[in-house]
């Protein structure tokens, strides 16, 4: 079984691509999540409608179809993206749509009484949002954001469709070139899991840091 071990480098290259995709996709997803999530609770119908359309469209169609479109169909509209760009775009927009609902839910989960306290203190809508509602909502969003990031990590495995040499893809290559099935798959499973553990550990740490003081423990 040493035959395939020489290919470990290839798999690690794939891991790098996967990490890159996950990070860049997460950043895009985060931006979209806040834009669309806050758009959903906007006072203006147009903004709400736009946000809802975005969310329902990207949650509604499958990520496969979105990838295919971003990579193979957008060029016909004159927009030719590199595989990495197309991957980040599709993954970020897709996961961003899910995370937008998390943002919306978290904003709504802040009790009505907090909004009323803002009114009673004569804070403006944006002031209340910025200083009172969002800081509290952020803590509610965080754990689900962690799950979303893991979902994104896992979704990167389908980018092989557009010839991106990510972990899963490299596992396939190694398998074809060496004839060994078990080892490449097992090793990428372990790498994915390790990455997922790192994400959830990071989010938990962040959450603990942000929750300080809220539970009555001395800061």
């Amino acid at each position: 079984m040493t035959q395939w071990s020489g290919y470990l480098g290839l798999i690690l290259q794939g891991a790098l691509v996967t990490i890159e995709l996950t990070l860049m996709g997460s950043v895009l997803a985060l931006i979209m999540a806040f834009l669309a999530g806050m758009g959903r609770v906007s006072r203006f119908f147009i903004v709400r409608a736009l946000a809802t359309t975005y969310i329902e469209f990207f949650r509604g169609t499958s990520i496969f179809v979105q990838l295919f479109w971003a990579y193979f169909v957008l060029p016909f509209a004159g927009l030719s993206l590199t595989p990495l760009q197309a991957g980040v775009l599709a993954l970020g927009l897709n996961v961003g749509a899910y995370a937008a609902e998390v943002v919306r839910g978290a904003i709504l989960s802040v009790g009505r009484e907090q909004y009323e306290a803002c009114t009673a203190l004569n804070l403006g809508r944006w002031q209340g949002m910025r200083h009172v509602i969002l800081p509290q909502a952020l803590l509610v969003m965080l754990p689900t954001f962690g799950n979303n990031a893991i979902e994104l990590l896992k979704a990167t495995s389908v980018v092989s469709l557009i010839s991106l040499a990510d972990l899963t893809f490299q596992a396939q290559v190694v398998r074809s070139q060496t004839g060994s099935t078990l080892m490449p798959f097992l090793s990428v499973l372990i790498i994915y899991f390790a990455l997922a553990l790192i994400i959830s550990w990071g989010v938990r740490t962040l959450e603990r840091r942000m929750a300080r003081g809220l539970d009555g423990v001395r800061v």
Binding site: P83, S176, T178, T181
Partner: protein
């Protein structure tokens, strides 16, 4: 007009210093070394020709068969050199060079060929037989044309999976070009398998470098260098170590293959 636009394509490749090439994950057409370097008959030929055209290098990306032609059409690749055999319908979809790699079809079956397959028609006749083939590949179409119903032609993502499925008894036969099957057999080294080659009634096919429709000028330039290499014997030197026959490629032409019915 169109001519100058086409020249522009080659100019552009020269300037950027590389051409983007789609290859398949299928030895010996392509091989990926442990360090990630791409070799194999198809990319080696392409690399050499582009060098002669003044394009220093090729950047090869491994692609699913199904994603190659849409990728070419969408401008993802400049050329596909992946063992995409020339057939009339394909000739309509892409612009082929003259033939490069030729191969007959083969089938991988269990030792002793328990169901006695010799041709795709044999599979069609046996109502319980299933055959695996790459999705959108030549073998899939041959099987379908021979009368094997859609639900008995299993789309298999890659060679290794096909081999595994024959070993596990999920399919009765797995069909690929002869050299691909031989390479699979060599790696698997499984005494319980057997290769049937060539498949009776299946023609010998040749692939060519596939260009986007509209890039004919580039294709023509490619052909010129290809012809020179064939003549000088360098062509044979590149492909024969991989098991391909240069003679087969030189004994036929694009026009013949694209017209075949």
């Amino acid at each position: 007009g169109a001519q100058s636009a086409d020249d522009a394509k080659l100019e552009q490749l020269k300037q950027q210093g590389f051409a983007r090439v789609a290859i398949a994950n299928e030895p010996p057409y392509t091989a990926v070394a442990a360090d990630g370097k791409v070799s194999g008959a198809a990319p080696d030929v392409a690399r050499e020709i582009f060098k002669r055209l003044g394009v220093n290098d090729i950047v090869a990306s491994i692609s699913e068969y199904g994603a190659m032609i849409p990728g070419l059409q969408a401008g993802r690749f400049d050329v596909v050199t992946a063992g995409l055999f020339m057939k009339p319908e394909r000739c309509a979809a892409v612009a082929y060079s003259e033939p490069v790699l030729c191969d007959a079809e083969a089938m991988l079956v269990k030792k002793g060929n328990p169901k006695g397959f010799k041709s795709y028609e044999d599979i069609a006749k046996d109502a319980s037989a299933t055959v695996g083939a790459p999705g959108g590949g030549t073998e899939e179409k041959l099987a379908l044309n021979a009368g094997v119903p859609r639900d008995r032609v299993i789309v298999v993502p890659d060679g290794q999976s096909g081999l595994k499925m024959v070993q596990d008894g999920r399919i009765d036969a797995y069909s690929l070009p002869v050299l691909s099957i031989n390479d699979l057999m060599k790696k698997a080294n499984d005494p319980n398998l057997e290769v049937i080659a060539p498949v009776q009634g299946a023609p010998v096919y040749c692939d060519g470098a596939a260009f986007k429709k509209g890039d004919e000028a580039l294709r023509d330039a490619y052909d010129v260098e290809l012809a020179k290499m064939k003549k000088s014997g360098e062509f044979a030197k590149i492909i024969e170590p991989y098991g391909f026959s240069a003679k087969a490629a030189m004994s036929t032409t694009r026009d013949k293959l694209c017209a075949a019915k």
